[in-house]
Symmetry: C2
Subunit: 193 residues, 2 copies
DNA sequence: ATAAGAAAAGACTGGTCTGTCTAGTTATCC
DNA sequence: GGATAACTAGACAGACCAGTCTTTTCTTAT
């Protein structure tokens, strides 16, 4: 865990480049020069640029979801846990290398042929949606499946636009607006105290 | 107006290609072959690919805003006008060549250097936000500036995530969810009858 | 010490990219 | 009819692309 393997070095360098400059604009040569490795070494660890992209997406998503779970678990039950995702986003926005959502950024670059990468992004977003559903279930009592989906879907939509728009405008108003709107979703629900 | 000039042919071809396959994945040669023109002709109308991109964004945005204004004006005052943007989005989604938001799609491809295109996207999104503010002002009475901004900002965020997520999932649930959430924004306001 | 494996360095293939330039063709207007 | 402008076709430059391969160097385990 956390070892500095060549594998990790490649993913880290590629991740920074893809996230900052875009997938199509980043060349293999940039990745190897930033990793300080030879080209043949890279291709002995990954069979294609597409594979590196999927590893990049997975790494970002896994670490995001881990952070989110930690943010949720560190908060009091109820409203605070339901809004934890916006606290995380606010802190992500404050990082100097914030460039919005890695998944949606990559989605914009895909041509309809690149089904594999699309599948990865869809899977990750569904995973987030599912987790938000759990958080809603844990923090709101006596709630139907339809209501759960509406609330978690709403938080999801607000989060995804907040991350994209704060990046677009280079301003955090979308995060605060989204966070202030989210409670309307469960205003008439039995939020756990 | 609406003449079939070479200028328009270039924008139309480029627009379809950029929107479907992405900006970086679309080559000049593809654009000229789809336009049925020679390369020198293209470069006598546009000085660079970046310029074509900006014309593409402008054309999509202008036509979107025109449609939106028409959708709003054709609806009864009040709730229907406030939600008109989601009706438009639903109809856009049903078009066979729907690929989400042209602006956000392009945003994902930009490296931090491409300030000009970023500026165009920011300007367009601000224009949409401003127009939504007008619609809110026209349809809700006795409302403060802060409340107007919260409601129009909320509709804006819901619209932008709905367009992106419906494209990502190839499903219209985000549009209906966003539309069903939006009224919560003005539940306690004086909506014009 | 030696054998085996991993990695470095970078040449190379075959292709793509944007943008320029030259030539020849067509259309238009006086 | 002759001039002017707009267009076509495609060669070309110079750079970059992903991915393969060879050769040399280094590390490590027995």
């Amino acid at each position: 865990m956390g070892e500095i393997t060549i594998h990790n070095k490649i993913i880290t360098s590629a991740s920074n480049l893809f996230y900052a400059n875009g997938y199509n604009s980043t060349g293999i040569n940039e990745i190897i020069s930033k990793s300080g490795i030879a080209k043949a070494t890279l291709y002995s660890h990954f069979k294609s640029k597409e594979d590196i992209c999927m590893a990049y997406l997975k790494q970002r998503h896994d670490s995001f979801l881990e952070s989110l779970k930690s943010y949720v678990s560190k908060r009091k039950k109820g409203r605070n846990q339901l809004l934890a995702i916006f606290d995380l986003l606010r802190d992500m926005y404050r990082e100097e290398d914030f460039h919005g959502c890695w998944g949606l950024k990559t989605l914009g670059e895909l041509s309809p042929k690149q089904k594999k990468i699309l599948g990865v992004i869809q899977k990750q977003k569904k995973e987030l949606l599912l987790y938000l559903g759990e958080v809603v279930g844990d923090n709101i009592t006596n709630i139907s499946k339809a209501e759960t989906e509406k609330i978690s879907g709403g938080i999801y939509l607000l989060y995804d636009s907040a991350i994209t728009e704060s990046h677009l405008f280079k301003n955090d108003w979308p995060i605060y607006t989204a966070r202030s709107i989210a409670p309307l979703l469960f205003a008439n629900s039995e939020v756990v105290q």
